[in-house]
Amino acid sequence: MTTVIWIAAVSVLIALYLSWTAGRLDRLHARIDAARAALDAQLLRRASIAQELATAGVLDPAASMVLYQAAHAARLARDERREVAESELSQALRAVFAETAQVRAVRDAPGGEASAEELVAAVRRVPMARRFHNDAVRAARAVRRHRTVRWFRLAGHAPFPLAFEMDDEPPASLDKFAARAEGPGH
């Protein structure tokens, strides 16, 4: 009789543990989804403002074309080309805004102040969103590698999470501009 009770108790405990782990994994997948949505939103925002600046006529024609091409490609890139296209947009932004003079040109145009601020915010937030996303991916992967999770297939049909790898280094001139625009003088 006692054996039966013991077996029952142990099975209940195992079931609780499995259900708790499944819940934990579920929460991690939800976190990845939210982080991915946030990253998509930030990338889209950056591409849009880059495209807007490229077509506004405040930059020289060569810079405008480089920026337009990269922003356009980033917006339309399919999933498997996305990381490359977004990295290329980062490089284009760095090339175009290598000098502070270009940033000043944008700011001096009518309504340019707002555009410049939006660009600064966008290039600052893409790396943030990407780090949060990849952090969530790492946490989920760590749990999914557990033996229990693999044996009992607790992850269900959720695809194995992949990190988003890209070059997201912001242009140096914009960094300085950000420190000045939000500094105590304003």
Partner: protein
């Protein structure tokens, strides 16, 4: 935005994390946000209107020193109630890896949680043992912030994952606008920090002082901070002791005036620093900085361009650098200017905007914060309490 901030350490005990939380909360409130801070405090301590007490913190030995921590059913219940009543859009918890309120909040809540890691403690055995318990709680943090590149590195080594670096904020205006005090001017070196805490490095500075005085006999050393003054000067030749002035514990206002007055600020700390807020304060006040080359300090000083660095614990190098700087007004002026330029990134307006950007990134499209009913066994079996 409705923001809930959790401070793990007692509100009535002064400390870096507490000051950071206070300044952050006040900055966000000024920007028009709705902020509530949950912090341990004695029930009879007067608290600002935005602080909610989580009960008294209990002193327990932890990790080699006595820490004041919150745990147990009562604290957990208060955390749950605060999360439930606050109806926050985002929770910002500080020092989540310490066994305290922040960790309890991680258990009790779900939704967008931001965590700031302040210290860069070496990995403790308790942390390794608690890893299976810690990890599920820390997994709930959707965005991690580290206060320096150094803190981020230790975080990545110990817990894995990644974090964005947002430095601690300083209200630069308070320091830049402070009135210099005439009696603290004229060939003065400043030091702020606990006298009897060797890690703050006063002994190194005392070893260097005879050489500095030999080259520049008019130099005075102003020391602000608690501790035994007699013991501090014991190693110094008797005739040099009157060149050291002890100011004791100074008010925030006097600290700003001191930093504004001195010709050179020296930070000889020998370790245990993850950020170095005092350097930012000194630079905001326009004081040229000479600091030991700890990782954290080197980063705050932009690798040595915003202030000078000397090899850690090397009193001779410290003396040589101090003598050279005090005899070169042009270099001091240059450091003043570079420092003031450099500290803008630590001003609350910049730091606050970055923290808000983090909040916006994690709340976009996410649900609001709610008590996590799944956390408890009872909730799991359908006996949810709320």
């Amino acid at each position: 935005m409705r923001i809930g901030i959790v401070c793990p350490y007692s509100w009535d005990v002064p400390g870096g994390v507490q000051f950071h939380v206070r300044d952050l909360a006040e900055h966000l409130i000024r920007r028009g946000h709705d902020v509530s801070v949950l912090a341990p405090a004695d029930d009879d301590t007067p608290l600002p209107p935005y602080v909610v007490s989580a009960g008294r913190a209990v002193p327990v030995p932890y990790n080699g020193s006595v820490a004041r921590l919150n745990f147990g059913f009562l604290s957990a219940a208060r955390v749950r109630r605060w999360v439930h009543d606050g109806d926050f859009q985002v929770l910002h918890i500080h020092e989540p890896a310490a066994p305290s309120l922040a960790l309890l909040t991680c258990w009790a809540a779900r939704g967008p949680i931001v965590g700031t890691f302040h210290t860069s403690n070496p990995r403790s055995r308790a942390m390794i043992a608690a890893y299976p318990i810690l990890q599920p709680a820390l997994e709930k943090i959707s965005a991690r912030i580290a206060v320096s590149e150094y803190a981020r590195r230790t975080l990545v080594e110990h817990l894995g994952g990644d974090a964005v670096v947002i430095p601690n904020g300083v209200d630069g205006g308070v320091f830049a606008d402070a009135e210099p005090k005439a009696e603290w001017q004229g060939g003065t070196i400043g030091f702020v920090g606990r006298i009897d805490e060797p890690r703050k490095g006063l002994p190194v500075l005392m070893r260097a002082l005879p050489r500095i005085l030999a080259a520049r006999p008019d130099t005075r050393l102003l020391v602000a901070g608690r501790g035994d003054e007699k013991e501090a000067v014991a190693a110094l030749p008797r005739e040099m002791r009157d060149r050291v002035e002890f100011l004791g514990m100074v008010s925030d206002e006097d600290k700003a005036r001191l930093l504004r007055s001195v010709d050179l600020y020296v930070a000889p700390n020998t370790g245990g620093e993850s950020f170095g807020i005092i350097l930012v304060e000194a630079m905001s006040a326009g004081a040229p900085v000479l600091a030991s080359d700890l990782d954290a300090f080197a980063q705050v000083l932009d690798g040595g361009t915003a202030g000078e660095l000397f090899p850690n614990e090397d009193a001779d190098a410290l003396a040589a650098a101090a003598v050279r700087l005090l005899g070169d007004p042009a270099r001091l002026a240059e450091l003043r200017e570079r420092g003031s330029e450099h500290v803008r990134r630590f001003d609350w307006s910049t730091v606050g905007a970055d923290i808000l950007a983090v909040y916006e990134t994690v709340t976009a499209g996410a649900e609001a914060v709610a008590p996590d009913d799944r956390a408890g066994l009872l909730g799991r079996l359908g006996f949810s309490r709320d």
